[in-house]
């Protein structure tokens, strides 16, 4: 296990009544896999990613444990975390235009990461930054290295961001919605690049997304989050083909349908994800769940094992079929 998260809880403020945005999360990521965390906005997926490197927004309080290579990361001082940031764990953000500094050339920003970790002097860092741009398949890298972020295309910028994240040869990459700001063809190229890098550099990738399309392309394992909790966690193939949780099924259904030509209605999960301060009692998904029964409204389902999959549902779907309330195992 390269990364193991235990009972991770994150909330804003110390007040006992403050709700947990991330509410008791457990998962492991093994070395070399592509681990996808998927969920709607507000599910706590981004907070989970940020907490690994101590990058939570001000006011957020985290408890539990996050171990990377056996080393505890949660609530550690900056002095411990800083060498890891960009050093052993790289981060790629959603919108490369706003995530790059507009006043410095692209190559200089990659070189800065190398210098910040004391891996290269000024000249060496500049040379390596061109190599890194070539590594992520940017054509004419020496010229692009001297260009400013606004002078290159969105896809190039995201490649350059990935080059920055890879500069110090990290073992793990956390990518927070890396393709959301890109159009479809570019998106496919960036995903292809991530999967190539994983293969060739034996990189572990934690991919945070709300896009089932991304998951289908490259996930090894999937964690489906809903309202701060695990809904379903397991091998990608099984979850994609035979989702057990009604929420996963609904997500998959919206994804497949949105890629098909417009038919009658756009399928959507009815309702919206509950705001963090007004989560329903019982199973948090029950107001939107087509299978919800009486006990779903009262008791929160515990996480339990079903084959290779961990899942939190009173009435899991069997073979992709809706299980009827009352006749569940």
């Amino acid at each position: 296990m390269i990364l193991s998260v235990r009972d991770l809880r994150i909330r804003f403020g110390h007040a006992a009544a403050a709700p947990f945005a991330v509410d008791g999360l457990d998962f492991d990521v093994s070395a070399g896999e592509i681990f996808v965390i998927i969920g709607e906005s507000g599910s706590g997926k981004s907070l989970t990613g940020l907490s690994v490197l101590g990058l939570l927004p001000q006011g957020a309080v985290a408890s539990g444990s996050i171990r990377f290579d056996g080393q505890e990361l949660l609530n550690q001082p900056e002095a411990v975390l800083r060498p890891l940031r960009g050093g052993r764990i790289g981060v790629v953000y959603q919108d490369p235009l706003s995530a790059m500094n507009p006043v410095w050339p692209v190559g200089e920003q990659i070189a800065e990461v190398l210098r910040a970790h004391g891996l290269a002097g000024r000249r060496e860092a500049a040379r390596r930054s061109v190599e890194l741009l070539e590594r992520v398949h940017i054509p004419d890298a020496p010229r692009i290295a001297l260009a400013y972020p606004h002078e290159i295309s969105g896809g190039m910028r995201q490649r350059a961001m990935i080059a920055m994240a890879l500069a110090c040869g990290p073992r793990m990459l956390i990518a927070d919605e890396p393709t959301t700001a890109l159009d479809v063809t570019i998106k496919a190229q960036i995903l292809e690049l991530l999967s190539e890098l994983r293969r060739e550099l034996a990189l572990t990738v934690v991919l945070i997304t709300h896009d089932m399309g991304v998951v289908a392309e490259l996930a090894d394992r999937i964690l489906v989050m809903y309202a701060g909790k695990v809904a379903e966690l397991g091998p990608a193939a099984q979850i994609m083909n035979r989702p057990s949780h009604p929420y996963t099924q609904a997500l998959l259904f919206s994804a497949t349908m949105s890629e098909a030509p417009a038919k009658a209605d756009l399928p959507a999960i009815r309702g919206t994800a509950p705001p963090i301060e007004a989560r329903p009692a019982g199973c948090r998904f029950h107001p939107r769940c087509p299978q919800a029964a009486a006990d779903c409204r009262e008791a929160a389902p515990n996480l339990r094992r079903l084959g290779d999959v961990l899942l939190a549902c009173h009435y899991p779907l069997l073979n992709g079929d809706a299980a009827r309330p009352g006749c569940a195992p």
């Binding site: 490197l53 940031r85 960009g86 981060v91 953000y93 995530a99 006043v103 920003q109 800065e112 110090c168």
Partner: protein, 288 residues
Amino acid sequence: MSGTASSVTAHTTRLSSTGWPGRVLLIVAWIIAAALAVFALMPHLVAPYDPIFLDVVDRLRAPGLSHPFGTDEGGRDILSRVIYGTRYSLGVAVAIVIVAALIGILYGAAAGMSSRRTDDLLMRIVDLFFGIPALVLALALAAAIGRGLDTVVLSLAVVWWPGYARLVRGEVLRLRERPHVEAARALGVGTWSLLFRHILPFVVQPVNVRITTDIGYALIAVTALSFLGLGAESPTPEWGLLIRDSRPYFGSAWWYLVFPGVMVMVTATVCSIIGDGLAGSEASSRGA
């Protein structure tokens, strides 16, 4: 961001949206500013006479061909004194604002980058400085270290820097949340690099606007202190001092009072117009 940016635009649209009259005004202001810079840096090239040369025969002469702005009670040419005075009045005002801005930027950046508790403490100290009245401080300093333009610079810089500290701290707090700063931090860039390479470059513009506008206010403060006898000493041709010296002759020699006064007014107005212009271009470059 939207809060500060929109108040800046609301403040400046008056000038920038009026189209050509605003632009012409701005161009005129820049031309006058250039002339003032020449006056301050190379007065000997422009002034017709030595500003402290006494000529008792020609005392209190009305404006005419040989002395376009007239002469004072010592027969000194007021045009020359006003031109040389730019160096003292405007120079001192610029010095005050630059010193205040440097202190304020360092202090504000330190507060903005520190933990919440340190930040709170640092800003309470700033609040204390806001409470110091410039005039009383200038009087006290003049009593303690003697009057003179350096006392003026010291006392005004002391009351002026907190404004920059507050401005810069606010900008730093706002910019710290910018995605590119977060991203640089996430890749291990250290606090100093974050501040100097990723945050301060974006503070330059609002500080620039503030400096330009403040030079006008500082000028008025400098001349006021000199007028009260706390600043420059005779025969330094400082504008405030010229106005002070002209008082006994106000009834008979209007030019003695009016021309230095006009210089103060014009210079302060030019600073305000240029500051407004810069604020307008800053707002548009922010996309506001």
